[in-house]
């Protein structure tokens, strides 16, 4: 490459490695410099402490039983007895949210809930931030109030550093070519570029761009989400406003996807969705989310479903106006996504939306702040139940829904290879329709039974080239 042709120690020239997001500059010098410059501020809590609870629930394990210590047995007994008299709650707080028809997501506005939901299981994302709700902190810093950098700023800095790095690399390449041409006599030597006099390794000497910051981000904050992607270069507009400390109103809320919200409500019971101060049953939510994941959304469906729910509450079953409520299709997008979401969350993965990598979900081992996502999940419906091939029409229809072409597979696979994720194709077995007789069941769904009808198969895809995958 160009950098090697330049007569300078190649180790000093930044080389993007792997996915091209880390800059390996002479690390020793950088870190020593950092230590000197680092202001002594309040210490950050370590991530393991912040995210010590994997779910927004509280568990009360029994004390450890130590066989040679009889006292431990006593402690266990006390615990058991006290728990039997006054069982401790696993749901100390139930968070509240509401369904927003415009964004088709659940909004959580209570600041405590927002923090708790993010810290305990990485649920949702901030409406004004990239992932973690940090708008307020960022705003404070902008006005000179906050102390520590937000992840968003770190990303900005890293992107700026990367942009500078690229410019520098392009310049070096250009210079090498020019130098070569001059040596070969193809370029008149009078066309001396002023850059020639500059040191060829400006990375360290000029210090023009904050590569040190880019490194620091890695050390301090851990990998931030999607650091492989966008190299956006938006400059943070520094506001000229007076940093006098008028209270900044937090304008940000947490947005939960329908699957996340339903898992929190139905699976964990840690979230309550309410409308007009009435908390809604998961039965109702199931129907609501399913309706809203279709496209196009039937007109006024929310109000229809809501009316239905209200009438049910008031036991006026005779007056139900039912024709406007459609049955839930067995391959409803919400349902397919929820089945997969539930599957992976139950297995302990942190599941987050994968739209930025053009996949359905990303699976994190502990959470996005600890490590990059390991797997990218693509959901594919599978119609292998005999019902779907019973009539030619149905067969054709389901074939069409199942079909993906080779181009699709190559595209998806290539994207995931580029960002060093393993592609998991998740096939969801679609059962025959189960919601046709919704009126006779009075619009009730037994969610547990329905979820049991779905089966999930995982297929891991990986590019394998004999030359590259030789261990």
């Amino acid at each position: 490459m160009a950098s090697e042709a330049v007569d300078s120690p190649p180790s000093l020239i930044p080389q993007p490695n792997g996915n091209g997001d880390r800059l390996t500059v002479d690390k020793k010098n950088q870190t020593s410099l950092e230590n000197k410059l680092k202001p002594i501020g309040p210490k950050r809590r370590p991530y393991t402490e912040i995210h010590s609870r994997p779910l927004p629930l509280e568990v009360h394990p029994l004390p450890v039983f130590i066989p040679h210590n009889p006292l431990s047995f006593v402690r266990i007994a006390i615990n058991l007895i006290s728990h039997s008299f006054r069982p401790p709650s696993s749901h100390p707080t139930v968070h509240r949210g509401y369904f927003s028809t415009e964004t088709q997501s659940i909004h959580v506005t209570n600041p405590q809930s927002i923090v708790a939901l993010w810290e305990q299981g990485f649920w949702g994302s901030g409406s004004l931030s990239r992932t973690e709700p940090q708008w307020l902190e960022h705003e404070k810093r902008k006005r000179g109030l906050g102390e520590s950098k937000t992840a968003w700023e770190v990303t900005q800095e890293r992107r700026e550093a990367r942009r500078q790095f690229k410019l520098e690399r392009a310049r070096l390449e250009r210079e090498t070519i020019e130098q070569q041409l001059r040596q070969e006599g193809k370029l008149a030597s009078t066309e001396q570029v002023p850059a020639e006099q500059e040191p060829v390794v400006p990375v360290k000497q000029t210090g023009a761009f904050p590569i040190s910051d880019a490194n620091k981000t890695k050390n301090e904050f851990g990998p931030t989400e999607d650091s492989q992607e966008d190299r956006q270069n938006r400059q943070v507009a520094s506001s000229d406003r007076d940093p006098s400390s008028e209270e900044i109103e937090d304008q940000e809320h947490l947005q939960l996807t329908l699957e996340e919200a339903f898992f929190l409500t139905y699976g964990l019971g840690a979230l309550e969705i309410s409308k007009d101060e009435i908390s809604l049953s998961s039965n109702y939510l199931f129907r609501l989310y399913s309706t809203y994941s279709n496209f196009p959304i039937p007109e006024n469906s929310a109000s229809h479903i809501h009316n239905l729910f209200r009438l049910q509450e008031q036991k006026y079953k005779d007056t139900l106006e039912t024709s406007d409520v459609l049955p839930i299709a067995p391959d409803n997008p919400f349902l397919l996504k929820y089945v997969v979401y539930h599957h992976f969350r139950s297995l302990g993965w942190v599941v987050r939306d994968g739209v930025k990598f053009a996949s359905d979900y990303l699976l994190y081992n502990r959470g996005p702040v600890f490590a990059h996502a390991q797997f990218a999940v693509m959901i594919l419906p599978s119609y292998s139940h005999p019902y779907w091939s019973a009539t030619p029409d149905r067969k054709e229809e389901s074939k069409k829904k199942e079909a993906r072409d080779w181009w699709w597979l190559h595209r998806v696979n290539r994207i995931q290879t580029q960002v060093l994720k393993t592609l998991v194709l998740v096939y969801v077995e679609v059962p025959p329709p189960w919601d046709e007789d919704l009126e006779s069941k009075a619009f009730q769904v037994n969610i547990g039974n329905i979820l049991k009808k779905y089966k999930v198969r995982e297929v891991v895809m990986q590019r394998w080239t004999p030359n590259r995958n030789r261990d």
Binding site: E229, D230, R231, Q232, V355, K356, F357, A358, S359, D360, W406, W407, W408, L409, H410, R411, V412, N413, R414, I415, Q418
Partner: protein, 299 residues
């Protein structure tokens, strides 16, 4: 390069559209923005697939464009062979065989001359040649009048001063057997069929035709997960600019495809392009093709 007369034939072999003539191949590349893919292996290194040669396989879309614009016509190569060789007259066949024999003889002579040159060179390098020729001359003097020794002597004496010896040896030389590499000297070139058979094309054809008509070159884009990677000029000189996917006019597709295609395209410094053809409004009228390019802004 010999000039190519249009329309030229495109062989259809087992559903593939092939070009066997180097002149035609460079002609379509220069004048019609069509590259195709070389698929022929080297016969004595058939396992390697790094360097491939003729024939050139055309995508059905490429063949279709050529046929639609009247530059070429498709013919069934297998059928042409059957008809051509079974329908050959006895006189033609004998003439062909005689020609092949002649070529075989010529080939054998060439091979022997090569061998002699080689040995002569080797001998000269070792300084033995002078001695050998002198010795042979003396032998020839002794055995004059005996034609039997001439043949043996000619194996070594390869100098052009001995034409008599060589002519005798020619008769004993076994001819090489030649496998003909083309069928279109013995057979007459296929005639243009009266009805134009258009190749079957996949549904992304309109976008290909559209880009080709704008002067772009297209190569198969499977490795980028798109139908064609589109080059602004000859692919040997340019990087491709677009990753192109053709869709149906009213086809529904997933938005994730756009996210993914855009992401992939932008990360390899290309633009993702999707396009479709408006359905025909009137009979025989070609619909308008519309294309959209998509790029990630923040990468």
């Amino acid at each position: 390069m010999a000039p190519v007369t249009e329309p030229f034939p495109i062989s259809n072999v087992a559903g593939r559209y092939l070009l066997f003539d180097v002149d035609v191949i460079s002609h379509v590349r220069r004048n019609h923005n069509i590259c195709g893919v070389l698929i022929g292996t080297i016969p004595n290194l058939s396992q390697q697939n790094v360097f491939l040669g003729i024939p050139l396989q055309l995508m059905p879309e490429e063949a279709r464009v050529l046929v639609e614009q009247g530059h070429a016509y498709i013919f069934d190569d297998a059928q042409a062979h059957m008809q051509g060789f079974f329908g050959m007259s006895r006189k033609d066949r004998l003439e062909f065989l005689r020609m092949m024999d002649e070529r075989g003889q010529q080939r054998a002579r060439d091979v022997r001359r090569k061998a002699e040159e080689r040995s002569e060179k080797a001998l000269r390098e070792k300084g033995l040649l002078q001695a050998r020729t002198e010795q042979k001359e003396s032998e020839a003097l002794v055995a004059e009048g005996d034609p039997g020794t001439d043949a043996g002597g000619s194996l070594f004496g390869s100098t052009p001063q001995l034409p008599a010896n060589r002519r005798v040896a020619d008769k004993k030389l076994a001819p090489h057997f030649i496998t003909p590499t083309t069928s279109y000297p013995p057979l007459a070139p296929p005639s243009q069929p009266s009805t134009l058979a258009l190749p079957e094309v996949p549904r992304q054809y309109p976008i290909y035709r559209y880009m080709q008509s704008k002067g772009y070159f297209a190569m198969p884009g499977l490795r980028f997960g798109c139908h064609y990677s589109i080059y602004p000029g000859d692919p040997l000189r340019f990087h491709s600019h677009f990753l192109t996917t053709g869709l149906g006019w009213d086809e529904e597709f997933e938005l994730l495809d756009i996210v993914g295609g855009g992401r992939l395209g932008t990360s390899v410094k290309k633009t993702y392009l999707i396009g479709a053809e408006e359905p025909e409004k009137e009979e025989g009228e070609e619909g308008k093709v519309r294309a959209f390019s998509i790029e990630w802004a923040g990468m």
